[in-house]
Every structure is written in structure tokens, then in C-alpha cells.
């Protein structure tokens, strides 16, 4: 009998160890009821530095250890024109073929390899590359290498996702794709360092690298002998890519790790460190690995695991605003795939503006951001992330948590509790059941959704989950895309990329306009943002502002959080800045110790 008890105790101990190992401080958050404790746990997201501060003397050379946080092997397609997986992009960043540098609001600057001159009246741009830039194999970069990517993407055998509406904006692209022309007629080589591109039409997006302008070069001298249809499987892009960036590929273990060495031909000068070793690390291990000093930087770090790194002495945690927002959308119509247009149904269940606004006011987004994300999410007021400083409207009120206002809006609009069950009926006195679709993720998502359901109940709205539970990612988008009639409201997120134009997400003929909200007014506002007059930054800023105000009034979708991305960095790293505007080039990065600090 005694023995048995001992056995039980040891099992419990083992279990407790595991829970402690993977649970982190989760328990504390849900049980720590004292207000004061919560106050302390909340972090001020704006207080994160964007650059490391390290004044120690640098060592000569050294190897930067990078953790690629990924739960499955990377795909290993190292060509900007062909890759599809975001992890491949993160790897390529160390040996980037990128031509343009950007300044505020991701507008193209003239500090990069290539500079851009726009002739809006004639729909022409002139791309000029620096002289003396060399590929990692020592061959000079010529304008042919700038034209080559267009010939890859436009080719009839191209299988990637980048032959799109934007690309067809280049004159002659469609003829080339159909095989009717040998070259793209809109691309005109002026000399070895100058290219003139003619477009069908130009919009302000050209300054963000949109409208069909392509942002990277491809080594024509190296890849020209490979047929386009074989390119994606070729060892020349999978095992031994030739690149322009700070480092060059040295060794690749497929799916697992990459060793880069300094690129002695790098046009900004040879980097100060010798090597970069990038290793795939499962997300379960990353906090422990950083703590143990195995890596200097991680390519991504989940905000929900912030507790795992926040008090570590060997790390500096950098932070910056992400180019993304979370939002809630209302299903207000259907997408007609025949005409390719969204058709708004004025009688949709959520068709009443007051109902939508009340729905938004009832959500206590602030508390969720603080409680579940320890402040790494913040309530958002606009559908444009604040990173785009020229276009973001910080004067917008947004839908601040205000249950009283929500109740008043509903009362005034005629949504009253007729039968006295504590839940409101619709305007005609019929029962109102709002079906909400949410995406499943970790256990926090479940808890947050329950919290919101209670929020809505508090103002008398009967909100239930579509399918009764949170929905797995793929099914979720399948249902949202198909305008499933069991979805009245859905919660999702968009990454905006570096071109803030909302046309692709909210336009009448965009299938990504999942709320299916359209109006002549909206068409006008969207067209204004991408119009030719808007090439004048002031006009464009005004157009953005008008659109944001209109969207806030109509609330077909409303923003919930902005996200702060956190980046733990080992204390031996010097001269490292991740600011969106002032980021340092990797060639100045230095290390101040032989091994990462433990």
C-alpha cells in the first residue's frame, strides 16, 4: 500500500514538472485575481526599443546564430520570383536580391541599388541601377538582371502566384504571356544600367513598388540556361543560389539549416562578421533555446509567449508595430462569381448600422489586450496600421468599450427585449440570434471568445458560435469565402503588406471583400486613393482619411487590435536596428563575444 502511494506522488511530480515546463505563467494570469498584480503584468508596448544598445568592444568576425522558428521544415525555394512560403523569404533576407530601399511609409528611396524616376503623365518609370554592383559570384549586375525577373514571371510556363492583375499592367506583359511576343514590349533597355518601363496606368502605389513594378533582380548569367518550367526544381535556386545581399549561401541542409558566409562583393562593403548560421527551431523550444544562449536572434517570436523571455538577463527584447490588424466583419451580402462583384443585401441580418456599431461598442477589447496579451496587442481605431504615418488617422475615435452607448444605440434603433428573457429581439420583435465565426488557435482564443460572448450578452445581444465552437483555419476561410449562411459575423486578421491601398480588400470586385459591403460612396472613396491626382501625397493622405472616416461610420468591418511584434536579441549583438524606417544593414552588425551570452 505504501509503495503505491509513493508511486502516485512521483507521477504527480513528473506531471507538475511538465506542466511547469510548457505552461509558463499561464496559471498565474487566470488565477491572479488581484487588481494590483495585473497592473504590474501589463507592459507598455510602445516602450520596447527598436535597436540594441551595446557599447562593448566588438570581436573580429564571429558567427551570428539565427533561429528560424518553424514547426515544419522550410521549403527551400530561394528565388524571390518563385518562393511562396514566408520562411523562405526570412531566410533569403540575409542574401537579398532586393533592388530598392524604402523610407517612411515604405516609399521607395534612392539609397538602394536602384533608384526610380516616375513620369506619371506618360505612365512611364525609369529604373537606374548603380554601377559596380556585383553578384556573389563576382559577375557584375547589369540591367539584364533587372529585366530577367519580368521574363520569368510573365513566361507562359511560370507556375507561381505573381502573374497577377498588377503584372498585366505592364504594357506587353499579356502578349508575352500568351506566347505572341518574344519580349515584353513595355520594357525598354536604355543602356547597361537604365531601364524604362511603360505601364497601362500609374497610381500612387508605384512609389510603394506596386502597379506591377518588380522589386528584385535575378542573376541572368547564372539562370538563363535553365528552362523556366524547370527553374523551381533547379539546384541553382535550391542548393547554390547566386545573390546580391550582405551574405551568400554557403551550405544548405534541405529543410533544416543554412550556413551563410560574408559576401566579399557586397556593394555596401563586406560585412563585419564572417558567418551566419540559421537553424530551424520548433516553436516549443525557442524560449528555452534563447535562454540557454544557443541563438542570437529569432526570426519570429510569438507574442503570447512573451513571459518566456521578458526577464532574461542575456536578452534584449526589441519590439515594433506589425503591418497587420485584427478585425471583426459583418456578412452583409454575397459575392456573385459570375459578374465578379459583391452584392450587398440591404435586408441582411446585420444590415442595421446601429446594430453593427452597438456590436462594436459592446466588445471590451482593451481588457482582452491587457489580460491575454499582456499589452502586446492594443485596441485599434482604424483599418490602416499606424506604421503608415502619412495615411493613418490618429484622431479617429474607434469603438471604445462603452456598453451604455451600445445599449442606447440598440434601444433607439428598435432592438428591444420584448419577451423579457434578457435578450433583445429584432426590430419586428422576432428572436435575434447572431452567428459568430471565430478561428481556433491556442486555448487563449477559446477563452477570449467566451469573454466576448459574455460582453455581448451584457448588452442584450444573443451571439452564438457558428458550428458551436471555434473553427479550424482552413474551414474558417472556406466558410467565410463561400458566404456561408450560418455566419453573420466573423473575426479575422489581415496583414497589409507594404502597400496600404485598401482597394484589394474592400473593393466592389475584390473577392477578399468578405463582408460584401459595397456602396457607390465607397467606390468613389477607394478610387480616389489610387487615382492619378493622389500621386500628390497630400491628396492621397486626405483620400485615406475620408475612407477611414466612412468605414468607421458604416462599420461593415471594424478594427479590434494592432499587434506588436517582439524580437528577442542576445546581448552580444551590436549595431542592430529593426525600425521600419531606420533599420541598419546587416553589414554593420557586430558581435561582442565569441559565443552568445548565456
Amino acid at each position: 500500500m505504501k509503495k503505491k502511494n509513493w508511486f502516485l506522488v512521483s507521477m504527480l511530480l513528473a506531471l507538475a514538472l511538465v506542466l511547469a515546463a510548457c505552461g509558463g505563467d499561464k496559471g498565474k494570469e487566470s488565477s491572479g485575481g488581484k487588481e494590483k498584480e495585473k497592473e504590474e503584468e501589463k507592459v507598455d508596448a510602445s516602450a520596447f526599443p527598436v535597436a540594441v544598445e551595446n557599447n562593448d568592444e566588438a570581436i573580429k568576425g564571429g558567427t551570428l546564430q539565427v533561429a528560424l522558428v518553424n514547426d515544419s521544415p522550410f521549403k527551400g525555394i530561394f528565388l524571390a520570383e518563385l518562393y511562396e512560403d514566408a520562411y523562405d523569404d526570412k531566410i533569403m533576407a540575409f542574401a537579398s536580391n532586393s533592388l530598392y530601399d524604402t523610407k517612411e511609409d515604405f516609399l521607395i528611396s534612392d539609397k538602394g541599388i536602384a533608384s526610380l524616376k516616375v513620369d506619371a503623365d506618360n505612365n512611364k518609370v525609369t529604373v537606374k541601377i548603380r554601377e559596380g554592383v556585383k553578384w556573389s559570384d563576382g559577375e557584375p549586375l547589369t540591367i539584364e538582371d533587372v529585366i530577367f525577373p519580368y521574363e520569368i514571371i510573365g513566361h507562359k510556363d511560370y507556375t507561381g502566384v505573381r502573374y497577377d492583375g498588377d503584372f498585366k499592367n505592364i504594357i506587353g506583359a499579356e502578349e508575352y504571356h500568351a506566347g505572341k511576343a518574344k519580349t515584353i514590349s513595355g520594357l525598354k533597355k536604355i543602356d547597361d544600367h537604365t531601364l524604362e518601363i511603360t505601364f497601362k496606368k500609374l497610381s500612387p502605389a508605384i512609389y510603394n513598388g506596386g502597379d506591377g513594378l518588380w522589386g528584385t533582380a535575378a542573376p541572368k548569367h547564372y539562370l538563363k540556361d535553365v528552362a523556366i518550367k524547370d527553374l523551381i526544381k533547379s539546384d541553382k535556386i535550391r542548393k547554390a543560389p547566386v545573390t546580391l545581399g550582405t551574405f551568400k549561401f554557403d551550405k544548405i541542409v534541405n529543410g533544416e539549416s543554412v550556413q551563410f558566409v560574408a559576401n566579399e562583393h557586397y556593394w555596401r562593403g563586406k560585412p563585419k562578421i564572417d558567418k551566419v548560421v540559421l537553424t530551424t527551431v520548433p516553436s516549443t523550444q525557442i524560449a528555452e533555446a534563447l535562454k540557454a544562449g544557443k541563438y542570437d536572434i529569432a526570426t519570429s517570436y510569438s507574442a503570447t509567449n512573451y513571459d518566456g523571455v521578458k526577464d532574461l538577463k542575456n536578452l534584449t527584447v526589441l519590439g515594433r508595430k506589425e503591418l497587420a490588424y485584427s478585425y471583426v466583419g459583418f456578412k452583409l451580402g454575397k459575392f456573385d462569381s459570375k459578374t465578379g462583384e459583391s452584392i450587398t443585401d440591404p435586408n441582411a441580418k446585420m444590415g442595421d448600422v446601429s446594430l453593427r456599431q452597438a456590436f462594436a461598442y459592446a466588445m471590451d477589447v482593451e481588457q482582452v489586450a491587457d489580460e491575454y496579451y499582456s499589452g502586446l496587442r492594443s485596441r485599434s481605431n482604424s483599418l490602416i496600421p499606424p506604421v503608415f504615418s502619412a495615411f493613418y488617422d490618429d484622431t479617429l475615435e474607434g469603438f471604445k468599450y462603452d456598453p451604455e452607448k451600445a445599449k442606447k444605440l440598440l434601444d433607439d434603433a428598435g432592438f428591444k427585449d420584448v419577451d423579457g428573457d434578457g435578450l433583445r429581439e429584432d426590430k419586428n420583435g422576432k428572436k435575434l440570434e447572431i452567428k459568430m465565426a471565430g478561428m481556433s488557435g491556442d486555448d487563449k482564443d477559446e477563452a477570449m471568445m467566451q469573454f466576448y460572448l459574455q460582453n455581448w450578452k451584457d448588452v442584450g445581444l444573443n451571439v452564438v458560435l457558428t458550428t458551436g465552437r471555434l473553427i479550424e483555419f482552413n474551414s474558417f476561410y472556406d466558410k467565410v469565402k463561400a458566404d456561408d449562411k450560418n455566419i453573420d459575423v466573423y473575426m479575422a486578421a489581415w496583414g497589409t503588406g507594404t502597400n496600404p491601398s485598401p482597394l484589394g480588400l474592400y473593393g466592389r470586385d475584390s473577392s477578399y471583400n468578405y463582408s460584401r459591403f459595397t456602396s457607390p460612396e465607397l467606390d468613389k472613396l477607394l478610387a480616389k486613393i489610387d487615382s492619378k491626382e493622389a500621386i500628390d501625397p497630400e491628396v492621397r493622405a486626405k483620400a485615406f482619411k475620408d475612407w477611414q472616416i466612412y468605414m468607421a461610420e458604416q462599420a461593415p468591418v471594424f478594427p479590434t487590435y494592432y499587434r506588436t511584434e517582439i524580437m528577442p536579441v542576445n546581448k552580444r549583438v551590436k549595431n542592430y536596428n529593426k525600425d521600419w524606417v531606420n533599420a541598419t544593414d546587416l553589414n554593420v552588425l557586430e558581435l561582442t563575444a565569441e559565443e552568445p551570452i548565456k
Partner: protein, 320 residues
């Protein structure tokens, strides 16, 4: 016997056919498709539609199935939607990783389990026996991912004596001694974890067989002839007690390629188990169907192998 083997192979064909039909239809029932994950505001929805049409995803399922099965018969399993390489080369690469890891695991498993099973059976009811039985129950009760995580954090981070992810260190060139050793070194911790967890079956079978055999007439005869007890164990009891283990050996061999989802995921070891799970998550149809067909084939082959092995080690059994 060869006739039987041939017949068993022929029976496999309709079995595999039914399996392929089932898995193909079920895979198509999954919500989403390989292109769902590609969507960002910057991808043109029309491009995605075109890619889907090109990939034949809008054809009726029987047309898709017919195309797939006719190509599969010619050894062409298509390209992976996510990795953009042919499925056979993708699986080939992962299968090698999994094969070596599983082989090491199985060797370690038998190296641990067989001596423990024999000792437990021979010294039945002693303190040693009780210790071994206790160990085997504990190892049976601990979920794989729990022990994997504990070992990983213990021996990967707190006492950092083992590497924590991958199959090899990137700094070595293939073909060198350092490369080979690095591969083995990366395999050790996952293999030990797997071996420690999988011993229960072997230990328990071996132990009870030995205990049963001890009271058998042939053992008494051997003893009465004057054979020393250790010889009775090694020559008579051991051989007979291995029979149930031999019965599973066919499955063990083919199971080498199956891989373990938990171990491979936690140790970041790119093998078949991990490929299977990630291809389901990304709806990589061509990979999913090929893998299930492969696993199905291996299971059938394993049972056949087990029967053949049994007939070799136990002369009383004949396949007719």
C-alpha cells in the same frame, strides 16, 4: 510457400485499390485546398483561381482520381503543392531520415528490452523483477510527448549534451566522417527516448514466455539430463520465448519507415511522421495520398513478412 506469397501479393492489389479510393475521396472532403494558405491581400484572387483550374481541382473527383491513379501506376505521384518537388523525391529524402532514426531506435529498443525481459523472467518475483516491471509500466504510462519534452529540456538545455533539433550540423560536408558522426549524434536523443518508451511490449512478452517455459517439460528434461541452468536458458528457453517477438518483427521492419509524429515534431527531426502531419495541415493532396498508400502497403507487407519469419523460426508453422 512461394505460391502463397504470390497469392498474398495478388490480394494486396484490390486492397490497395480500395484504400486509394477511400483516401482520395476523404482527402478531397477536407475543407480548404493547397492554395488557401497562400492568400494575402497582395495575392490576386484570380491568380489563385487560375492555379486551381490548372491543378485540376475543379474537375469532378472521379476525373481527378483517374488522372492520379493512372500516373501513379507509371510511378509518377505528381508534385507536392507546397514543396514544389516531385512527391517521390520528397518522400525519398524524408524516408531516409526516418529509416536511420527508426533503425537506431529499434536496435536500442531490443538492446534494452531483451536483457531486461530475460532477467525479469528468470528472477521472477525478485526485487530486480519488480523493478523492471515497474519501469515497464511507467514507460507504458508516460505519453510520448511528455518524455520527449522532459528529455529535450533536460539533456538539450539544462545539461546540454545533445543537439536539440535537425538531423545534422550544417557546417559539415556530406561524405566526411564528421558529417556521419553529426548525423548519429543528432539521432541519439530521439532514438533513446523512443526506445525507452517502446520497451513494454517486448519486456512483458518475453518475461511471461520465460515464466511459462520454466515449467515446461522440455526444460525439466534438459535439467534432468544435467545441463547447467544458464545453458538451459540460453539454448532452450530463450529461443522458444522469442517466438511472439518474431511474430511482430515483420511489422517492426516495415514500421521503420512510418516514423513517429511526436518524436519528429518535438525534436525538429524532418521525417515521415512530420511530413504526414504537415501535408495534412497544408492540404498537400498529392503527398497525403501517396503517404497513406505507402503506409498501407507497408502494413500489408509487414504482416506477410511476419508470417514468413514465423515459418522460418518455428518449424511447426508452414504457410500453405
Amino acid at each position: 510457400m512461394w505460391k502463397t506469397v504470390l497469392r498474398r501479393f495478388l490480394v494486396m492489389i484490390p486492397q490497395l485499390f480500395v484504400l486509394s479510393l477511400l483516401i482520395f475521396i476523404m482527402a478531397k472532403f477536407m475543407p480548404g485546398d493547397p492554395f488557401t494558405g497562400l492568400i494575402t491581400p497582395e495575392t490576386d484572387p484570380n491568380v489563385i483561381e487560375e492555379l486551381k483550374i490548372k491543378a485540376g481541382l475543379y474537375d469532378p473527383w472521379y476525373v481527378q482520381y483517374y488522372n492520379w491513379i493512372t500516373n501513379a501506376f507509371q510511378g509518377d505521384f505528381g508534385d507536392s503543392y507546397t514543396f514544389k518537388v516531385s512527391v517521390s523525391s520528397l518522400i525519398g529524402e524524408r524516408a531516409m531520415n526516418t529509416f536511420w532514426l527508426s533503425l537506431l531506435s529499434v536496435i536500442l529498443l531490443y538492446a534494452i528490452a531483451i536483457p531486461l525481459g530475460i532477467l525479469a523472467g528468470r528472477y521472477q518475483d525478485s526485487l530486480l523483477d519488480k523493478g523492471i516491471v515497474l519501469y515497464s509500466f511507467i514507460s507504458y504510462a508516460i505519453p510520448t510527448f511528455v518524455l520527449s519534452l522532459i528529455f529535450l529540456f533536460m539533456f538539450g538545455y539544462h545539461i546540454p549534451i545533445f543537439p536539440t533539433s535537425g538531423t545534422v550540423d550544417v557546417s559539415h560536408d556530406p561524405g566526411t566522417w564528421g558529417y556521419f558522426w553529426s548525423k548519429v549524434y543528432h539521432m541519439l536523443l530521439p532514438a533513446i527516448t523512443y526506445a525507452l518508451l517502446a520497451t513494454t511490449g517486448v519486456i512483458q512478452y518475453l518475461r511471461s514466455e520465460i515464466i511459462d517455459s520454466k515449467s515446461m517439460d522440455y526444460v525439466k528434461t534438459a535439467r534432468s539430463k544435467g545441463l547447467p541452468i544458464s545453458k538451459v536458458y540460453t539454448k532452450h528457453i530463450f529461443r522458444n520465448s522469442l517466438l511472439p517477438i518474431a511474430a511482430f518483427f515483420g511489422f517492426t521492419i516495415t514500421g521503420l519507415l512510418g516514423g513517429s509524429v511526436f518524436i519528429e515534431t518535438i525534436f525538429g527531426y524532418p521525417g515521415m511522421g512530420q511530413l504526414f502531419i504537415s501535408s495534412i495541415a497544408s492540404r498537400d493532396y498529392s503527398v497525403i495520398t501517396t503517404l497513406v498508400m505507402l503506409f498501407g502497403f507497408l502494413t500489408l507487407l509487414g504482416s506477410l513478412l511476419s508470417d514468413i519469419i514465423m515459418s522460418i523460426v518455428d518449424p511447426r508453422i508452414r504457410i500453405e
